[in-house]
């Protein structure tokens, strides 16, 4: 469904991605792991169109989306739950969720989805009229995930969704992701919690200093010696 070929991205003169090639099949859950600064977030940014790529090609359902704007990419069905929460700080929880459904116009469905999200994260329901900037870190993370789900994409990209969440919520988030995948949505996930990510994914890529160095099923990677020592704590 999504193919990336030889993707190169730069920040100023620094080459953060040096020709990344990967692909994701329809309905798959793919994990992208790698050390700090490897370029995982950069890859997601390039796919969702908020970062221009210097070279390479990204196709989605056979269409070239390399040069598309973020808006076009979202309307084609790719949503991105960014690193570092990025909630709208001066807007309330409710308004943030509204923004998630910005491109949708099915009012009734939107309302139902919103309630579903409040069902997943009761904490957010308690805080629905609070401005997002004053939420705790974990609450903001829940909001960011909820907001991304609101856009009802066909490909959902999560950048470290478990960041800053309490263990019970982490569990819940992983099960939400699992159920998203089960409902037919394709998922691309970047996770530092590599063990859990590798356990649940269909396929995984390992990114190191801007290049893919290893790929395979989650199980393959868990068993890999290098992965074990560098990412799973030995």
């Amino acid at each position: 469904m999504l193919h990336i070929n030889g993707l190169v991205c730069r920040y100023g003169k620094v080459e953060a991605l040096k020709g990344v090639t990967l692909s994701i099949g329809q309905g798959q859950l793919v994990a992208l792991i790698g050390a700090n600064g490897a370029g995982k977030s950069t890859t997601l940014r390039a796919i969702s169109g908020i970062l221009p790529s210097a070279a390479g090609r990204i196709t989605f359902d056979g269409h070239d989306i390399t040069k598309c704007s973020a808006r076009e990419i979202l309307s084609k069905g790719i949503a991105h739950c960014p690193e570092g929460r990025r909630v709208f700080p001066d807007m309330t929880v409710d308004e943030n969720l509204d923004m998630g459904a910005y491109l949708r116009s099915d009012r009734r469905e939107i309302a139902a989805d919103r309630e579903r999200i409040f069902g997943m994260f009761p904490r957010l329901a308690e805080r629905r009229h609070q401005v997002a900037g004053t939420l705790s870190g974990g609450e903001q993370q829940m909001l960011a995930i909820g907001r991304a789900i609101m856009s009802k994409p066909r490909l959902m990209m999560f950048d470290e969704p478990s960041l800053g969440l309490a263990p019970n919520i982490v569990e819940q988030v992983f099960s939400i992701i699992d159920s998203i995948r089960k409902s037919g949505t394709t998922v691309l996930m970047v996770e530092q919690n590599a063990y859990s990510a590798l356990e649940m994914c269909d396929y995984a890529y390992l990114l190191e200093t801007g290049s893919i160095v290893l790929s395979g099923s989650g199980k393959d990677l868990i068993d890999d010696e290098h992965v074990r020592s560098a990412y799973l704590g030995g």
């Binding site: 050390a35 800053g164 263990p167 799973l232």
Partner: protein, 268 residues
């Protein structure tokens, strides 16, 4: 700095009956706990339990509605954040926090602010003392970058570091203030297991030098691994307190925080 942990616990930080209200919202109700000299205490609890708020109260960023915090028998009630820092209490922030548009090295130089003894007059008249003080600071800065392990990126702009490296720089900044106690707010979030293990080594090293540490973290294995004691907060209230082993088995903590998979997490 290197006082050995004595057998009789010496409370350095004591939080006494703190309450924090934001308008109608009660973030913390009547919280009390102590951290003893040389101890690593973890403050854990579900999202929104009030951990960061507690940090803000202790470090003077937020005035509590009620209660008092004492550090080494000094009340922190009316101190401004920079005065709290001067007492030897340093913190890191939950959200990544560095001086974005200056280099990593300059970041640490800024962090060393309190260590310089040069006065305004030295500066204006360019007295030799000024030059010596500056040279000393530069050495210290290099040392600190070595300690946290980002010395190779010293000349890069802090804003261009990856998330994890920025968090390490945050720790270096806190260490630069020459603290006797560190308050770390989710230091390893965004680090993988291997990086976390490395960070735990750093913590143990500091611990070995007698540094007291108050840690907020959601990485349960790490918390269990480094803490001497754990305080659990839920909805602004302390629901449990004790050594890691006791907390791990506490049913209330499991329900409110650890979740069913706690045992699975602990396995790794």
């Amino acid at each position: 700095m290197s006082t050995m942990p004595s057998s009789v616990p010496q409370p350095v930080l004591s939080v006494e009956h703190i309450a924090v209200h934001f308008g109608g919202l009660i973030a913390i109700t009547d919280m009390s706990f102590v951290v003893n000299q040389g101890e690593i205490v973890s403050l854990i609890g579900p999202n929104g339990a009030g951990k960061t708020t507690a940090f803000n109260v202790i470090t003077g960023f937020l005035r509590p509605t009620k209660g008092e915090v004492r550090y080494k028998n000094t009340s922190l009630s009316n101190l401004k954040p920079h005065e709290v820092t001067s007492l030897g209490l340093a913190r890191t922030f939950q959200r990544t926090s560095v001086f974005q548009s200056v280099t990593v090295f300059e970041n640490v130089m800024i962090g060393l602010h309190r260590r310089s003894r040069s006065t305004l007059l030295d500066t204006l008249l360019a007295l030799p003392r000024e030059g010596r003080a500056e040279a000393e600071l530069r050495n210290l800065a290099h040392e600190l970058l070595e300690i946290v392990g980002i010395a190779r990126r010293a000349d890069e702009l802090a804003g261009s570091l990856s998330y994890g490296d920025q968090r390490l720089l945050g720790v270096a900044l806190a260490l630069a203030t020459d603290p006797s106690m560190l308050l770390l707010d989710e230091p390893v979030s965004g680090m993988n297991a291997t990086e976390t293990a490395r960070f735990m080594e750093l913590l143990n090293k500091l611990h070995g030098r007698g540094m007291s540490i108050l840690l907020v973290e959601h990485d349960v294995p790490m918390v269990m691994g480094v803490s001497d004691r754990i305080v659990v907060l839920n909805y602004g209230r302390i629901i449990a307190e004790g050594p890691p082993a006791a907390i791990r088995g506490n049913p209330e903590v499991i329900r409110a925080y650890l979740g069913e998979g706690a045992s699975r997490h602990a396995a790794h």
